[in-house]
């Protein structure tokens, strides 16, 4: 079932372990993102799949075959580099044709496929431009066309959009997703932008310091983060210190003056994580004071000082009156919107 499989892959540079115990199986046609902060080993993992680095331990298999035994030039993967790495002395068409030339594709077929690939990324008519005469977005498209024209078994993208401005990046994200859906190439995208990972991927691999923190769909990782790191990294979150009181029946979860029936299986000190957009203002709950109120067009952002420390609340701008700075409020949320983890070291 697994198309591409990484089996307990590890990479060490000297004494430094950069990737550890990395296991992942990717289905055919799936779009996977590696998401994590700078230096967490995303590029290193991608380069091991590409073959530019050899794993210290573990196996990488493509359709059951050991990929590490195959020379990088023979793996047939398509790669888009962060810097694009286009050949500056060749035109856009020559860049795209290079991989086909290496495969001895006959001239006529080559020209046809190059034309089609450039048209697919919206660069029809740019065949004879040199990369240095193109904008960042256009270069990015040439790099994508160059990687896709060889019909790669897997497409590897190393932060391909990070050099583009915000608006262009959003356009390219949509385009990238559409192209990937159309041709169905199995794709791995490296990014440190959580919005990018969430809007593009079928599944996200959240990484931190060379280890996998969580693998899941964008919704899963956002709504049921497996660790404090994931909840902090994927969007804003509030972490409140709470306790589970098992001396009363039914057992109670308390965070300040907010209380709810306790979830099963936990006891003692816990951390309650709740997304800012899931908190509302009510009559009972965590008491807090609003420090700042920021208007952001379609929503309001409140920074509050609560019994359990600082809290952020996001409310839709639905035309209702909102509390003002300095107001005393009560914060409430539905128990199913929070995630509760045992609190270490308490």
């Amino acid at each position: 079932m697994a198309y591409l499989e990484l089996d307990r892959v590890a990479k060490q540079f000297g004494a430094q372990t950069v990737v550890e115990d990395f296991s992942l199986s990717v289905g055919k046609g799936e779009f996977i993102s590696f998401l994590g902060p700078s230096g967490c080993g995303k590029t290193t993992t991608l380069q091991m799949i590409a073959g530019f680095l050899d794993p210290t331990r573990g196996a990488i298999r493509l359709e059951g075959k050991d990929l590490t035994a195959i020379h990088p030039a023979k793996r047939g993967l398509g790669i888009v580099f962060q810097s694009y790495a286009l050949f500056p002395h060749m035109t856009a068409a020559e860049n795209v044709a290079f991989g086909l030339e290496m495969r001895n594709v006959p001239r006529n077929e080559r020209a046809e496929r190059v034309r089609a690939a450039l048209a697919m990324v919206g660069l029809a008519g740019y065949e004879d431009r040199h990369p240095r005469r193109m904008s960042g977005g256009q270069q990015q498209r040439v790099a994508l066309a160059r990687a896709l024209v060889i019909k790669p078994s897997v497409l590897l993208l190393d932060e391909p959009l990070s050099n583009l401005d915000a608006k262009l990046r959003e356009e390219m994200q949509i385009e990238l997703r559409q192209i990937q859906r159309t041709i169905g190439t199995t794709t791995i995208l490296v990014t440190h932008d959580q919005n990018e990972a969430m809007s593009l991927s079928d599944r996200i691999v959240v990484m931190s310091q060379g280890k996998i923190e969580q693998i899941g769909t964008p919704q899963e990782t956002y709504e049921r983060p497996a660790s404090a790191f994931v909840s902090q990294f994927l969007g804003k979150t509030n972490d409140f210190a709470g306790t589970i009181d098992r001396t009363v029946a039914p057992t109670q979860l308390l965070a300040g003056s907010w209380r709810a029936p306790a979830p099963a299986g936990l006891g003692g000190p816990v951390t309650v994580s709740i997304r800012p957009e899931r908190i509302g203002f009510g009559d009972a709950g965590l008491s807090a004071k609003i420090i700042t109120r920021i208007f952001q067009g379609n929503h309001w952002l409140f920074q509050c000082d609560s019994e359990c420390g600082p809290a952020i609340v996001i409310r839709q701008n639905d035309g209702q009156a909102q509390p003002a700075e300095g107001d005393a409020v009560r914060l409430t949320w539905r128990p199913e919107d929070m995630s509760v983890r045992a609190r270490a070291g308490a």
Partner: protein, 291 residues
């Protein structure tokens, strides 16, 4: 902005560059103009230099095949030296660039170190090794019975080219090195991922991109070799003359300054034309890589 301020802002750059400008005019342009003028003066064994305007020296250079041969030799040596430095220097820079950290800086020092030693000392080194019967290598080979007579090195064009190439190598390596630094660090991986083997990567991806570096290195090496004096003087002596040593001889031995000036002027003009011309060609040809 007031008139006075505007005037001052126009004058300021001139005032600031004036000292350098005066130095430039004083030690370069004036002597150069005087040399050109000198080449039109007359000279006789007994009457010395006569400040008249005649074309005698230029006529002599144009008609006497001796000068044609000597200029042809000068440029032949310069071209072959350039080829040799390019053939050895470009791969050298590439290999150097692929070494890791510590070795890279060590070998870079080894390559650039000779720049700190005088050209004369470096050329004399060759003379000490290969100079006639007393040259160290020659003595060793002859005493081992490998050769009967010394290796023909001194007073030969081959010897001059080898010694010049040795002296000029750092300029070529540096120039190619600079071009290599401009390459995208992932460019070889990109080509590899598309299915290119190591030879194809060098031929199709690396070479075209470092060619401007090789060519600008070639221009430097060519012009320095064609006008080199110390190395040809030591290796070639008065037996195998090039333009620079000939001009020197006319000035200091024959004392025919006007003829020496004509030779020097011709060398300068030829070099300027060649360098400017090839530079323009290179920039046009490699516009995409230079940009």
């Amino acid at each position: 902005m007031s008139m006075a301020a505007e005037e001052r802002s126009v004058r300021a750059p001139w005032a600031l560059t004036a000292p350098a400008l005066m130095l430039f005019v004083g030690v370069l342009l004036i002597p150069l103009a005087m040399t050109v003028m000198l080449s039109f003066h007359d000279w006789g064994q007994y009457k010395g230099i006569e400040p008249v305007f005649i074309l005698k020296n230029w006529h002599e250079i144009a008609t006497d095949p001796y000068y044609a041969e000597m200029f042809w030799r000068t440029f032949r040596i310069a071209i072959l030296t350039t080829l040799l430095t390019a053939l050895l220097g470009a791969p050298e820079a590439y290999i150097l660039n692929r070494m890791d950290g510590r070795w890279k800086s060590f070998f870079l020092l080894v390559i650039l170190g000779p720049l700190l030693i005088s050209v004369v000392a470096r050329t004399l080194g060759w003379a000490l090794l290969f100079g006639g019967n007393n040259g160290l290598v020659n003595k060793l080979l002859m005493s081992l019975g490998v050769m009967r007579s010394p290796i023909p090195f001194m007073f030969t064009e081959t010897g001059m080219i080898i010694a010049l190439a040795h002296v000029m190598m750092p300029f070529m390596v540096l120039s190619v090195w600079a071009a290599l630094q401009r390459l995208d660090p992932q460019i070889e991986n990109a080509a590899m991922s598309l299915g290119a083997g190591p030879v194809t990567i060098i031929r199709r991806i690396i070479m075209p991109q470092i060619m401007p570096g090789v060519l600008s290195g070639a221009i430097i090496v060519f012009s320095l070799s064609a006008s080199a004096f110390a190395t040809p003087a030591i290796i070639g002596g008065r037996r195998l003359k090039v333009a620079a040593t000939l001009a020197y001889d006319e000035f200091l031995n024959t004392l025919n300054w006007p003829l020496g000036a004509a030779v020097a002027t011709l060398l300068l003009v030829a070099l300027v034309l060649i360098v400017v011309g090839s530079n323009a060609l290179i920039e046009r040809r490699y516009a995409e890589v230079f940009r």
